[in-house]
Every structure is written in structure tokens, then in C-alpha cells.
């Protein structure tokens, strides 16, 4: 057989003392030449002596993950190698990520994340990633300026943290925050100040800081290098290239966040004493919004019903006391039990809620596509083997009709007792 002959030629080892012979066939089919190397790696797919791929079923079982229900989860997507590699990496993380300490940096880069409610958004992490990209190659360090305490900033990539947690900076006080950032930055003279270009948080404060520093910032920057900042401009029709300005307003997904294998020390710096400036803007708090009127794509907290829900009064009552937006599966919307604009999934709305509470939803792939960007999923279902139960960060195998009123009662007791 020609294949077998070719494989034998590819595997031939050079004889000591003689020059290495070129094998044109092996060069044409590098998979065969690599066979000898991959045979020793222990992966599920090896190359046999004939040069054919051989699947080792025991290795497949060894490498498969286990679901919450204890069933095998075999990855047949051809990414088995990366999965097993990831598992190795997570074991490494358990041992502790590499801690990076920078004592005397050559320059500073200030990052002001939105840090809403003390939580880093993915946009914030991207901005930290962009700052680390600038600082890592050139011995720089990243200072995070925040206005409330919260999540660990070292894991995002902050070497130092400057926290102004005075009551004067709470709520909507962008001019005070901008003044604090300028005062804090004056001591460090940072090379750049990076803000996420969001409508009313980072973008607002960043432009105020730029106006105070008489800088013309690059806005909506989606690529940042030491010598170049690329902004998407002209109604998303053109890229403007320029040298990075002092203040930079970064677009979402401008850079990858730093990996889980690294961690910066996030050492607290003593914030300078600042007299809060006089402001003519008073914050009168958030207005009560009717969650039913919030578009599903914008909702932060979604409670969703599927075919397993029959007690609709309990469902609506729970949505009301939780203050969550209502959603539903395709079956429910087809049946006319919820309006069409409340449908979650591939043919409905792709939601990005922080928390998704699914009652009686089995989890069709098209539905799971709709909740890919949800952070946390709670599933209540009677079927132990439903896809939604596997997807859930917390899953309860129970009838939705029993849990919904229990949850409503619990909430009413808590609110009444408080």
C-alpha cells in the first residue's frame, strides 16, 4: 500500500554520522512526520504506525468532564487537546496565580474603571488589558482609581489602587470625580489615563478630565499601542490614527483581559486629601422603572418561564416582587402566554442579564444561545437531565409551581420583617 510505504519513509531516523536525508513525501504530509512525536503525548487521538489516526476510547473517557448530574460530557468538537490543557491550567491556578510586583516603575498608567457597585464589567477588564499591554513591555505600572470599595482589582491587572471612598463622590458626581482624578494623577504624572468609553460613567468623567487637562482625547479607541491609537469615527465608517493622547477613551473589546494565571498586587495608595468642589448638580437617585417596560435586551435581571410553568399568576407575582423583567421560551410565546417581544433565544432576544432565573425551561440549543451572555443562571426544572440544569450555576429539581410561591412568600416575609 502506498500509504504504508510513505509512513515508513517518514518515520525513518537519520543514521548517526551520516547527513540527514530529505524526505519530500514527509514534507508534503507533515502529519505523518509528526506521528512519532504525538504518539508519546497521551492524547486521545494518536497516529498509528500506518500513519492513520487512531482514537483511544479509554483516553476519551479519561479526558471527558463530568456534569452536575454525574454524566459523562465528551467533547467531540475536536478541541479535546485545548480542553485538557485548560484543565491543567486551572489546576495551576488553584496552586495560585503568579503574583507580579513592580516596585519602581518607569512610568504610570491610570485606569479609571466604571466599577459600578464595586464590580468590574467586561469592558473594565478590557481596558485593564489595554493598560497592561502598554505597561508590560516598558516596565510601567497600572494604577486603578476607584470611588467605592469592591471586587479585587489585582486580578484585573492593577498594581496600585487609589480609592476615594468619600460620600461626596457617591452617586452622580462626575465633576468631583474628575477633579479627584486630576488631583490624584498630579502626584504620579501618568503617561496615559484610560477610561472605558461608556455613555454616563467612564466616557463622561474621561471627557471632563480631558477638558480640565486641555487635552483632545482619542475616543472610542479599539486598538492601542505605545505609538498609535486607532479610533473608530465618522459614524463607524473610518478609523482615525494618531499618536496616543494623554486621555484615552477605550471601546469595548479593545484588548483581551489579562489571563487567570497572572495577578497584580493591587497595593493601596494613600489618596491625597481633596476638598470636594462645589457642584450645581444634585443626584436625586434612580427612578423606579417598571421592569415590564424595560426591553429584554437591556434588562439586568430576567425571570423566565417555559413549558413547565402553568401557574401564571404566581409567575407574574414573583416577577413583580423581585423587580425582574419577564421572559419566556418560544413555546410559551407561541402559545400566546407572553408577548412575542418577551421571547428569549435565537429567534427572540439575545439577552445579557447579570442573572437569569429559568422556571420550567428544558433548554433547547436555540434558547441557550439566547442566554450565552448571561453571567449567572438559576434553573428550576423537574427534569434532572435537562440541558438547562447542566447550564445552571444553581439548579433545583423541583416543580416550578411549588418554588415560585415559596420564593414570593420568603421575599414578603423578609421585606415585612426588615
Amino acid at each position: 500500500m502506498p500509504l504504508r510505504r510513505r509512513a515508513r519513509r517518514a518515520l525513518q531516523t537519520p543514521v548517526a554520522g551520516r547527513p540527514l536525508r530529505r524526505d519530500p513525501r514527509a514534507e508534503r504530509e507533515p502529519g505523518l512526520a509528526a506521528a512519532a512525536h504525538s504518539a508519546a503525548t497521551g492524547s486521545a487521538i494518536n497516529v498509528g504506525p500506518s500513519g492513520r489516526l487512531r482514537r483511544d476510547p479509554r483516553a476519551v473517557v479519561r479526558q471527558a468532564g463530568r456534569s452536575a448530574t454525574g454524566r459523562l460530557r465528551i467533547d467531540r468538537s475536536g478541541r479535546a487537546g485545548t480542553v485538557s490543557h485548560d484543565r491543567g491550567a486551572s489546576e495551576h491556578v488553584d496552586a495560585g496565580p503568579e503574583l507580579i510586583c513592580i516596585e519602581a516603575p518607569a512610568f504610570w498608567i491610570v485606569v479609571v474603571p466604571d466599577y459600578e457597585g464595586g464590580r468590574l464589567s467586561s469592558h473594565d477588564r478590557d481596558v485593564f488589558g489595554a493598560a497592561r499591554k502598554l505597561s508590560d513591555g516598558a516596565e510601567g505600572a497600572v494604577v486603578a482609581v476607584v470611588f467605592e470599595a469592591g471586587e479585587d482589582l489585582g486580578a484585573a491587572g492593577a498594581d496600585r489602587v487609589l480609592c476615594f471612598d468619600d460620600a461626596a463622590f457617591a452617586g452622580y458626581a462626575p465633576d468631583r470625580r474628575a477633579a479627584a482624578i486630576v488631583a490624584g494623577a498630579a502626584a504620579l504624572t501618568p503617561r496615559h489615563l484610560l477610561f472605558p468609553d461608556t455613555a454616563v460613567a467612564g466616557g463622561d468623567i474621561g471627557r471632563r478630565v480631558a477638558a480640565m487637562l486641555a487635552d483632545s482625547p482619542a475616543a472610542n479607541v479599539h486598538r492601542l499601542r505605545a505609538d498609535e491609537a486607532v479610533s473608530r469615527a465618522d459614524g463607524d465608517r473610518a478609523d482615525y490614527l494618531r499618536a496616543p493622547s494623554r486621555v484615552l477613551l477605550m471601546a469595548a473589546e479593545c484588548e483581551l483581559p489579562i489571563g487567570a494565571d497572572r495577578c497584580c498586587e493591587a497595593r493601596r495608595l494613600e489618596p491625597p486629601a481633596i476638598e470636594p468642589s462645589r457642584t450645581t448638580i444634585t443626584d436625586r437617585g434612580l427612578l423606579p422603572t417598571n421592569p415590564g417596560s424595560v426591553p429584554l435586551a437591556e434588562a439586568d435581571f430576567v425571570i423566565s418561564a417555559g413549558n413547565g410553568v402553568t401557574d401564571w399568576t404566581a409567575f407574574h407575582a414573583l416577577a413583580e416582587v423581585l423587580g425582574a423583567a419577564e421572559g419566556g421560551s418560544r413555546v410559551v410565546c407561541d402559545a400566546g402566554l407572553l408577548p412575542r417581544e418577551r421571547q428569549v433565544g435565537a429567534s427572540g432576544t439575545l439577552i445579557q442579564a447579570r442573572c437569569y432565573l429559568a422556571f420550567g425551561i428544558s433548554g433547547a440549543p436555540q434558547h441557550l444561545q439566547g442566554i450565552v451572555r448571561c453571567e449567572k443562571v438559576v434553573a428550576i426544572n423537574t427534569d434532572l437531565h435537562a440541558e438547562m440544569v447542566k447550564r445552571g450555576d444553581l439548579s433545583a429539581i423541583k416543580d416550578a409551581q411549588a418554588v415560585m410561591p415559596a420564593l414570593t412568600r420568603l421575599l414578603e416575609v423578609r421585606v415585612g420583617g426588615a
Binding site: T82, Y172, D204, P217, S231, D234, G235, E253, E298
Partner: protein, 259 residues
């Protein structure tokens, strides 16, 4: 009524056809001003011959429209800010409204901030509604992410920006667009030349995907499936146990008790 509002109008461009038109966010700002029943003026800095400027004269809200649009004649490629600051100093309106970003050109959204710094006005970004309280202060609603709204109060002169998604929608009336006047003004101050950045046509940015691609079935699985075996599982708990577990979980996420 003594309230005076000046709206800053820029030229826009249709995203599909590329034809010049009025900028969507500026039209929303104009509609908000007209709805209030205030004395409204509008200003554009640029070429007075642009055909799209007539679109602003045709926008009606609350059965009112602009009678006159001031256009300060500044050639392209020059910094418009000195001319605009000088114009607004002389006009001295109570409120200045503008869109958040220009649709053409760099569109960095800095104009309102530079004006606020130069004029010493308070600035509020991304508002949705504006009203005047009994004591003469302004009451604003600010648009936040995820459908939330924030109530704000402002004393004294104000610059506010309005996003293209604001709720107010004007109605276009062709006859008014024809009837309205365009008043040409010469800039009283010199506008310096702008340093042109290097510009290249935008290419679509790659979307961030999880590693791996393949046929449709694999992509669907990659998009819809998450590694299982991470979550906590309660098998047949009592209803109260399940409710307590969910409540504890929501509390850890900061969603319980709801505000």
C-alpha cells in the same frame, strides 16, 4: 416664558446611502427644546449652503418648529470651537442642548465638554427629559444602561447632551422646511486650522469568540453549551429549601432583596 434654549446642530450622514442629512441626536435635542415651549434658537457652524440644513427647519414637536437657523460660516478643516464659544457668550442662553456625538468627522463627543469648560456651565450627559421646577432650577432625567433612569437637579446655566436613542421624536413638515430662514453669520473670531489625523476606511472588527470553529453544528454547540459540572445541584428539595437556596444565591449576587 423666559426660558431660552440654544440647540447645536451638526450635519449627519445616512448610514446606508451616505447622503447628507440632519444628525439624529441633534434632531432629538431640537425636538426636546421645542416640546418644552421655550424660546428656541439653533446654530450650525459650517457651510450655509448645505442642503441638509433645511431638514432642521422642518422638524416639528409640540406643533412648533424653528423659524430661523443661524449658520456661522466657517470653512471645513478649521476648529469651530472659538466661533461657537463667542456666539454662545453673546447669546447667553439658559440651556444649551446638543447630541452626544457628531455623526460625521471624528465624533469624539468633546464639543459639549469644551464648551462647558469655556463657559463655566454645568454639564449633564445623555438626558432624556428636561423640565423647569417652580424655583427656576432644572429637573432632568438621565438615561443609564439597562433601561434605568436617574433623576437629577441642576441650578444655573446648563449644557446637556442627548443620545440618538432618546424618546422624543419630532415630525417632519416639508412646508416648514421650505418656509424657514437660514441666517448667515460671519465668525467674529479667527478659527485656527485643525491638524488632520490620518484616516483610513474602517474594516469590520472581529468579534471576540471562544476558541474553536468548525461546521455549523460545532459552532452551535460552542455558542450554546457551557462546560457542565460547575453548578450546584439540589435534587428534589422541599419548596422552602429551594427558595432559601435561590434567595441565598441572589443575595450573593446583590439582587436580594430587590431595591
Amino acid at each position: 416664558m423666559g426660558l431660552e434654549i440654544t440647540v447645536l446642530c451638526s450635519l449627519g450622514q445616512h448610514p446606508g446611502s451616505g447622503r447628507p442629512r440632519c444628525a439624529t441626536a441633534d434632531v432629538r435635542a431640537l425636538a426636546l427644546a421645542l416640546q418644552l415651549g421655550a424660546e428656541v434658537s439653533a446654530v450650525h457652524v459650517g457651510d450655509p449652503e448645505s442642503a441638509a440644513l433645511r431638514d432642521y427647519l422642518g422638524q416639528t414637536a409640540g406643533r412648533r418648529s424653528l423659524e430661523c437657523l443661524d449658520v456661522i460660516d466657517v470653512p471645513t478643516g478649521r476648529d469651530i470651537r472659538p466661533a461657537l464659544i463667542d456666539y454662545l457668550r453673546q447669546k447667553n442662553p439658559d440651556v444649551i442642548l446638543a447630541g452626544t456625538h457628531a455623526e460625521c468627522g471624528e465624533g469624539s463627543g468633546m464639543l459639549a465638554y469644551d464648551l462647558a469648560a469655556a463657559l463655566g456651565h454645568a454639564l449633564v450627559a445623555n438626558i432624556d427629559s428636561l423640565s423647569v421646577a417652580a424655583d427656576g432650577s432644572f429637573e432632568l432625567t438621565q438615561v443609564l444602561a439597562r433601561g434605568r433612569r436617574r433623576a437629577l437637579g441642576v441650578d444655573g446655566p446648563l449644557i446637556a447632551t442627548i443620545g440618538a436613542g432618546a424618546a422624543v421624536r419630532p415630525v417632519f413638515a416639508y412646508a416648514r422646511a421650505v418656509r424657514g430662514q437660514i441666517r448667515r453669520l460671519k465668525p467674529a473670531v479667527e478659527c485656527p486650522l485643525f491638524v488632520a489625523p490620518s484616516i483610513r476606511p474602517a474594516r469590520a472588527r472581529p468579534k471576540r469568540l471562544r476558541a474553536g470553529s468548525g461546521n455549523a453544528a460545532e459552532r452551535l454547540r460552542a455558542a450554546s453549551e457551557t462546560p457542565a459540572g460547575q453548578g450546584r445541584l439540589l435534587v428534589d428539595p422541599s419548596a422552602e429549601e429551594a427558595a432559601l437556596a435561590i434567595a441565598d444565591y441572589l443575595r450573593a449576587e446583590g439582587l436580594w432583596p430587590p431595591s
